[in-house]
Amino acid sequence: MANFDWTLASLTLILTGIGLILIYSAVSPMGEAGKIFITRQILWCLLAMIMSAVFLLFDYSFLEDWAFWLYASIILSLLIVWAVGRVTAGSRRWIEIGFMRFQPSEFAKPIIVVILAKYLSTRENQSSLSLPELVRLMAIVLAPALLVLAQPDLGTAIVILLISVSLILFVGISRNAFVVIGLFAGAAIPLLIYLGDKILLDYQKKRIITFLYPDSDPLGAGYHIVQSQIAIGSGGVFGSGFLQGTQNQLMFLPVKHTDFIFSILAEEWGFLGCLALFVLFGLLFIKSLTIVGKARNEFGALLAFGAISIIFWHVFINTGMVMGLLPVVGVPLSFISYGGSSLMAGYFCVSMVLNVSMRRFHYK
């Protein structure tokens, strides 16, 4: 335990604690009916901690051996969700396991990091990625990304792509590949716009249109953005105080205990509260990136980097969309948003970083 990174672990626990306080605030206007959310989230926290502790007992190299099977099982789970998953809020994202509902797309993200780290660390030469290699990588990524998109869960699909791009850029791509991709992208954008029009579901298109023109639909999708901006803006420097946010308490805010929880922080704890949260996340990122630089091998470095980039993109996209900087795509705020699968996946990511940190020296 000498190398256990207490700072990283403490940051995670503090963030989880903030999350519980905000969820409490979010569900309090629901009266008695809201209490169940708190109980459930606490149970999920305990489960996530136990899972992390067990995971830390083993050297992360087992992930390298299991990468293929993890990947295969997540593809299978996504296929199951696609086929028989249960319908929630307009899309299939769940698998029922006994009393629990489990959302495979949340776990797809860390598992894609595992398989990419394995693939990238076992290459023959260490030069930048060539074009054929990139094509193979994209094939690995696109299978789960398309299944997630079919759920339909645009947010997670985007995060999967962003993580993969982050890892690829981290390893570096050759100049040739860069030029070809540049040309290809230039040609593909009109095609993508055309396909996007065909493939994206009406509600997804609507969200993008509403992002561009929030006033076009004040009753539907634009309502989210307008109301959450009012909540954030009205928070001011110091916020209205715990349980005092009128936007929250009068139930103006939609899905606020999940995707829009940041607006409650902003309304009730103000700019200072948000700043504190950003500082905590910033410390988490910097601490993790230091660990990336110290990893004992390439797999470990890529694993830790991928894991932290998952958290980063979640934080960036979620807070960005709540503030009206990005379209509303339904990405939870790691450690803070209500939801078991998201919390478990977040803990799994931090555990991977912790594991890489603990075993940065090779004792063989």
Binding site: G31, G90, G270, I286, N297, G324
Partner: protein, 620 residues
């Protein structure tokens, strides 16, 4: 401990530690920049624009209120209202605003006629739900209650009146299957992209015209931006987009004629479909048993739902489009047309009916155990001789019979514009080979030639088939919707007749079959003589569909248990009048086609042409 000093014990040896440490730093810079960008936006929202947002939040909070559109009406062909929305009032409390509880309970207990205890317990229950969402205390208030409550609202905080539209069906059971019912939108329906604009809790068509024409009937939702103060009280309207009422759907059916048919159909289960052979317009569509549509408005009670669903006669099913029956001897019309058109044998060719015949070691009986003697095509139709059609079936073979069944619309849905229509089945040996291990037998050919066996059809298919005979071979697409009129009065849809196909028959064939169908009614031995009306040329054919295999002939019908009795079928048309009509009547377990379905057809035709019903005495 710095990384470099340990490179010697690193396993792979191909690691470039500096490279990753450096890139991690770049990533760090990138992430910090992103966080700074977010902080910048936060700064702009919370510090620069905080004032204006705070004003919106504290003083002039704008709450958006949905203004649901008024659902379109469903009308009969004469413009009578079959389904429409009327306002209904609900008295609710807002838990967070309740102040003078005792006074409130006393006041409304008196107005609503509810015991104080009951109101108190409802208010207690409301506290466990959302604090600012209305909690209903009493629904469907009378006008008197509404006016008395209105006068008290100013003094008592936390009480409120809500208006909600209620679907009303003035004709109750009439046309219930065609009109269809509404219900709360399900999560499945919500998830479908075509249904944008719905929220959970909305009512949506669940069956019949209500579901099929949902997009027309629904209308467009409007909204209202309402200013409310920090405690949630309404102050003023800011802006508003009025809802657009849904379109009205006018049916082709005259509800007066429909209701008459429903009333004369005293038997427990069955169906009548009447259509205009020239246009395909449905004139009546009776499915029995029926149910009162008002039961579903605003929502059906648990008990009623269980009762309707558990009823073994399935009152919710529209038998006209979903009931599968053997057409039985009514199908002999098609077999006869096939014989003539395929020149299988001459219409004058005679067969001797001895009441039974043997095929492949098995005895096949005619319904008349005594036999019909020597019969040609004409007599075989008039007296509905089975033996003649067994011979015809053997000569034609199953594929040719199936071909004519298909030509006359059996085996495919009629596309009448009602949901969940069943296609029925026109079987062929090829079809049987797909799902059964044993091959097609001659016995199956001959049962098919008299409309039994695997061959099944819906009442509307029989009506369309009859219409195709009546209009000289045009297979029409039946229609129940005559017109759709938008809320501003513009006609957005008007029915025009659609011919699905022209059935090519050699000239003169139809006339031969028709003369036999005329004699079915007129001839003293005709099976349809109970349908006789003086001065009206009626063409008809009877059918008696076996429900179980009749091994033993039991003479007295009364002794057979209900569910084992045969279905009675009657098809008929009138074509030499300015208004034509073709109809199919099916009485489940009604016994013989002529005796129980025939009189219904006669009364229907008499009513349609405004003639007095001669009554059943005619047969004597």
């Amino acid at each position: 401990m710095p990384f470099k000093s340990k490179t010697t014990i690193i396993k792979t040896g191909k690691l470039e530690p500096d490279r990753y440490a450096f890139r991690a730093k770049i990533a760090g810079v990138f992430m910090m920049t992103a966080l700074l960008l977010l902080t910048g936006k936060l700064w702009s929202l919370q510090l620069l624009q905080s004032q204006s947002y705070a004003e919106q939040a504290y003083n002039n909070r704008v709450r958006l209120v949905r203004l649901p559109p008024s659902r379109g009406k469903i009308l009969d062909s004469k413009g009578r209202v079959l389904a429409q929305n009327i306002p209904s009032f609900t008295f609710s409390v807002i838990p967070a605003e309740l102040e003078k509880n005792r006074l409130l309970i006393q006041t409304y207990s008196e107005i609503l006629g509810l015991p104080e205890e009951r109101i108190r317990s409802l208010i207690d229950r409301s506290r466990s739900g959302p604090k600012f969402i209305n909690f209903p205390i009493k629904k469907n208030l009378t006008i008197e209650e509404v006016s008395r409550i209105e006068s008290t609202l100013a003094d008592l905080k936390g009480a409120t009146l809500e208006t909600k539209p209620l679907r009303k069906y003035p004709f109750k059971e009439s046309l219930c299957h065609v009109i269809g019912h509404l219900g709360e939108i399900s999560s499945d329906e919500l998830s479908k992209s075509s249904q944008l604009g719905y929220r959970s809790g909305d009512l949506i068509g669940k069956s019949g015209i209500e579901i099929e024409y949902e997009s027309h009937l629904k209308g467009e939702e409007g909204w209202e931006q309402v200013e409310i103060d920090a405690k949630g009280h309404r102050l003023d309207k800011v802006s508003r987009r009025a809802p657009k009422a849904g379109s009205d759907v006018t049916l082709t059916i005259d509800v007066e004629f429909q209701k008459y048919l429903e009333d004369i159909f005293y038997q427990s289960a069955g169906a009548i479909v009447a259509i205009d052979p020239d246009t395909g317009r449905v004139l009546a569509m009776v499915s029995k048993p029926a149910f009162d549509l008002n039961m579903f408005s605003p929502s059906i009670s648990e008990r009623n739902w269980k009762e309707l669903n558990g009823d073994h006669l399935h009152p919710l099913e529209n038998r006209c489009i979903r009931g599968l029956y053997s057409p039985a001897s009514a199908f002999k019309i098609i077999t006869a047309l096939a014989v003539l058109n395929e020149k299988a044998f001459s219409p004058d060719r005679r067969f001797i009916c001895k009441g039974q015949m043997e095929i492949g070691g098995q005895i096949f009986r005619c319904w008349n155990a005594h036999g019909h003697g020597s019969v040609n095509l004409h007599r075989a139709i008039v007296e509905s001789c089975d033996i003649y059609f067994y011979e015809a079936g053997l000569k034609l073979g199953p594929d040719r019979i199936a071909k004519y069944a298909t030509l006359f619309g059996l085996g495919t849905p009629t596309f009448c514009g009602l949901p969940q229509e069943l296609p029925g089945l026109a079987p062929t040996p090829k079809w049987k080979a797909r799902g059964h291990s044993d091959p097609w037998k001659d016995g199956e050919t001959i049962t098919m030639s008299i409309g039994q066996g695997y061959l099944v059809s819906t009442p509307i298919q029989l009506a369309v088939m009859t219409a195709a005979v009546a209009n000289g071979g045009r297979l029409m697409r039946p229609a129940v919707v005559q017109r759709i009129t938008s809320s501003d009065g513009a006609v957005t849809f008007e029915h025009t007749p659609v011919v699905r196909s022209e059935i090519q028959l050699n000239p003169g064939i139809m006339a031969q079959v028709e003369s036999a169908m005329k004699d079915v009614v007129i001839d003293p031995k005709g099976t349809g003589k109970k349908c006789r009306i003086a001065n009206l040329n009626i063409y008809a054919k009877t059918g008696t569909s076996q429900v179980i295999r009749a091994k033993e002939r039991i003479k007295e019908d009364d002794r057979i248990p209900y569910h084992e009795r045969t279905h009675a079928i009657f098809i008929a048309y009138v074509k030499d009048q300015p208004r034509k009509i073709a109809l199919a009547v099916i009485v489940e377990h009604g016994g013989g086609g002529g005796s129980s379905a025939g009189p219904i057809a006669r009364k229907a035709l008499a009513k349609y042409y405004g003639l007095p019903d001669p009554g059943d005495s005619e047969e004597k």
